[in-house]
Protein backbone atom coordinates (compact mmCIF):
# COMPACT_ATOMS: atom_id res chain seq x y z
CA UNK A 1 0.00 0.00 0.00
CA UNK A 2 3.01 2.32 0.40
CA UNK A 3 4.70 1.42 -2.89
CA UNK A 4 5.05 4.55 -5.04
CA UNK A 5 3.43 6.71 -2.36
CA UNK A 6 4.79 9.83 -0.71
CA UNK A 7 4.25 9.86 3.01
CA UNK A 8 3.87 12.60 5.62
CA UNK A 9 5.19 11.16 8.91
CA UNK A 10 3.57 13.03 11.79
CA UNK A 11 5.04 11.82 15.06
CA UNK A 12 4.39 12.97 18.58
CA UNK A 13 6.69 13.29 21.53
CA UNK A 14 4.48 11.25 23.86
CA UNK A 15 3.84 8.59 21.22
CA UNK A 16 6.00 7.54 18.30
CA UNK A 17 8.52 10.11 16.97
CA UNK A 18 8.72 11.04 13.28
CA UNK A 19 12.06 9.29 12.57
CA UNK A 20 10.68 5.94 13.78
CA UNK A 21 7.63 6.33 11.53
CA UNK A 22 9.98 7.19 8.66
CA UNK A 23 11.93 3.94 9.07
CA UNK A 24 8.75 1.85 9.20
CA UNK A 25 7.37 3.60 6.10
CA UNK A 26 10.64 3.15 4.20
CA UNK A 27 10.70 -0.56 5.06
CA UNK A 28 7.20 -0.79 3.57
CA UNK A 29 8.35 0.80 0.29
CA UNK A 30 6.99 4.31 0.90
CA UNK A 31 8.84 7.58 0.37
CA UNK A 32 8.79 9.85 3.43
CA UNK A 33 8.66 13.46 2.23
CA UNK A 34 8.01 15.05 5.63
CA UNK A 35 8.82 14.01 9.18
CA UNK A 36 7.81 15.99 12.25
CA UNK A 37 7.65 15.18 15.94
CA UNK A 38 5.28 17.63 17.56
CA UNK A 39 1.72 18.38 18.38
CA UNK A 40 0.14 20.67 15.81
CA UNK A 41 -3.20 21.31 17.45
Amino acid sequence: MFKGKKVLCIGERDGIPGPSIEKVVESAGGEPVLSVTQCFV
Binding site: M1, F2, G4, K5, K6, V7, L8, C9, I10, G11, E12, D14, G15, I16, P17, G18, S20, I21, K23, V24, V25, E26, S27, A28, G29, G30, V33, L34, V36, T37, Q38, C39, F40, V41
Partner: protein
Protein backbone atom coordinates in the same frame (compact mmCIF):
# COMPACT_ATOMS: atom_id res chain seq x y z
CA UNK B 1 -0.24 24.68 15.19
CA UNK B 2 2.90 25.62 13.23
CA UNK B 3 3.08 22.05 11.92
CA UNK B 4 -0.23 22.62 10.15
CA UNK B 5 1.61 25.14 8.00
CA UNK B 6 4.43 22.66 7.34
CA UNK B 7 1.88 20.04 6.32
CA UNK B 8 0.02 22.48 4.09
CA UNK B 9 3.32 23.45 2.40
CA UNK B 10 4.15 19.77 1.83
CA UNK B 11 0.73 19.17 0.28
CA UNK B 12 1.11 22.25 -1.94
CA UNK B 13 4.50 20.93 -3.08
CA UNK B 14 3.61 17.26 -3.64
CA UNK B 15 -0.15 17.41 -4.32
CA UNK B 16 -2.73 15.16 -2.66
CA UNK B 17 -2.45 12.38 -5.24
CA UNK B 18 -0.16 9.55 -4.07
CA UNK B 19 0.16 11.20 -0.66
CA UNK B 20 -0.50 9.33 2.59
CA UNK B 21 -0.33 10.53 6.21
CA UNK B 22 1.02 8.23 8.93
CA UNK B 23 0.53 9.26 12.56
CA UNK B 24 2.43 8.42 15.73
CA UNK B 25 0.00 9.80 18.29
CA UNK B 26 -0.15 8.18 21.76
CA UNK B 27 -3.92 7.78 22.17
CA UNK B 28 -7.22 7.58 20.29
CA UNK B 29 -8.28 11.13 21.12
CA UNK B 30 -5.16 12.82 19.74
CA UNK B 31 -5.15 10.40 16.78
CA UNK B 32 -8.70 11.53 15.99
CA UNK B 33 -7.78 15.22 16.15
CA UNK B 34 -4.74 14.74 13.87
CA UNK B 35 -6.72 12.51 11.49
CA UNK B 36 -9.59 15.00 11.31
CA UNK B 37 -7.16 17.84 10.59
CA UNK B 38 -5.67 16.14 7.50
CA UNK B 39 -9.01 14.90 6.17
CA UNK B 40 -11.84 17.31 6.98
CA UNK B 41 -9.77 20.25 8.26
CA UNK B 42 -8.62 21.75 11.57
CA UNK B 43 -11.41 21.00 14.11
CA UNK B 44 -10.35 24.01 16.19
CA UNK B 45 -10.69 26.33 13.16
CA UNK B 46 -7.58 28.17 14.25
CA UNK B 47 -4.68 26.89 12.13
CA UNK B 48 -3.73 27.04 8.44
CA UNK B 49 -5.81 23.91 7.76
CA UNK B 50 -9.04 25.40 9.14
CA UNK B 51 -11.70 24.84 6.51
CA UNK B 52 -9.21 23.00 4.27
CA UNK B 53 -10.45 19.48 3.44
CA UNK B 54 -7.31 17.73 2.22
CA UNK B 55 -9.03 14.31 2.16
CA UNK B 56 -5.70 12.53 2.60
CA UNK B 57 -5.65 8.80 3.39
CA UNK B 58 -4.54 8.63 7.04
CA UNK B 59 -3.13 5.70 9.01
CA UNK B 60 -1.59 5.26 12.44
CA UNK B 61 1.83 3.60 12.35
CA UNK B 62 0.59 0.85 14.70
CA UNK B 63 -2.42 -0.12 12.56
CA UNK B 64 -2.41 -3.66 11.17
CA UNK B 65 -2.35 -2.36 7.57
CA UNK B 66 0.97 -0.61 8.25
CA UNK B 67 2.41 -3.48 10.27
CA UNK B 68 1.65 -5.99 7.51
CA UNK B 69 3.28 -3.77 4.87
CA UNK B 70 6.42 -3.03 6.90
CA UNK B 71 9.57 -5.10 7.42
CA UNK B 72 8.85 -7.09 10.61
CA UNK B 73 12.32 -6.50 12.08
CA UNK B 74 12.17 -2.73 11.49
CA UNK B 75 8.63 -2.55 12.87
CA UNK B 76 9.64 -4.43 16.02
CA UNK B 77 12.76 -2.33 16.55
CA UNK B 78 11.14 1.07 15.95
CA UNK B 79 7.64 0.76 17.40
CA UNK B 80 7.42 -2.70 19.02
CA UNK B 81 7.46 -1.35 22.57
CA UNK B 82 4.79 1.24 21.83
CA UNK B 83 2.59 -1.41 20.23
CA UNK B 84 2.49 -3.15 23.62
CA UNK B 85 1.88 -0.03 25.71
CA UNK B 86 -0.67 1.88 23.58
CA UNK B 87 -4.34 1.04 22.96
CA UNK B 88 -3.90 0.07 19.32
CA UNK B 89 -7.50 -1.10 18.90
CA UNK B 90 -8.99 2.22 20.04
CA UNK B 91 -6.49 4.25 17.97
CA UNK B 92 -7.16 2.13 14.87
CA UNK B 93 -10.92 2.49 15.25
CA UNK B 94 -10.68 6.28 15.50
CA UNK B 95 -8.24 6.73 12.60
CA UNK B 96 -10.15 4.36 10.29
CA UNK B 97 -13.29 6.42 10.92
CA UNK B 98 -11.60 9.46 9.40
CA UNK B 99 -10.02 7.37 6.63
CA UNK B 100 -13.55 6.48 5.53
CA UNK B 101 -14.45 10.18 5.55
CA UNK B 102 -11.37 10.94 3.44
CA UNK B 103 -12.59 8.39 0.88
CA UNK B 104 -15.97 10.12 0.85
CA UNK B 105 -14.28 13.48 0.22
CA UNK B 106 -12.19 11.96 -2.58
CA UNK B 107 -15.25 10.33 -4.17
CA UNK B 108 -17.17 13.61 -3.96
CA UNK B 109 -14.28 15.61 -5.42
Amino acid sequence: MEDQGIIKDAVDKHGTENLIVVLGTPDAESAGIFAETVTIGDPAFSGPLAGVSLGLPVYHVLESEVKEAADPDVFEEEVGMMEISLDVEAISKEVSRFREKAEEIEDAG
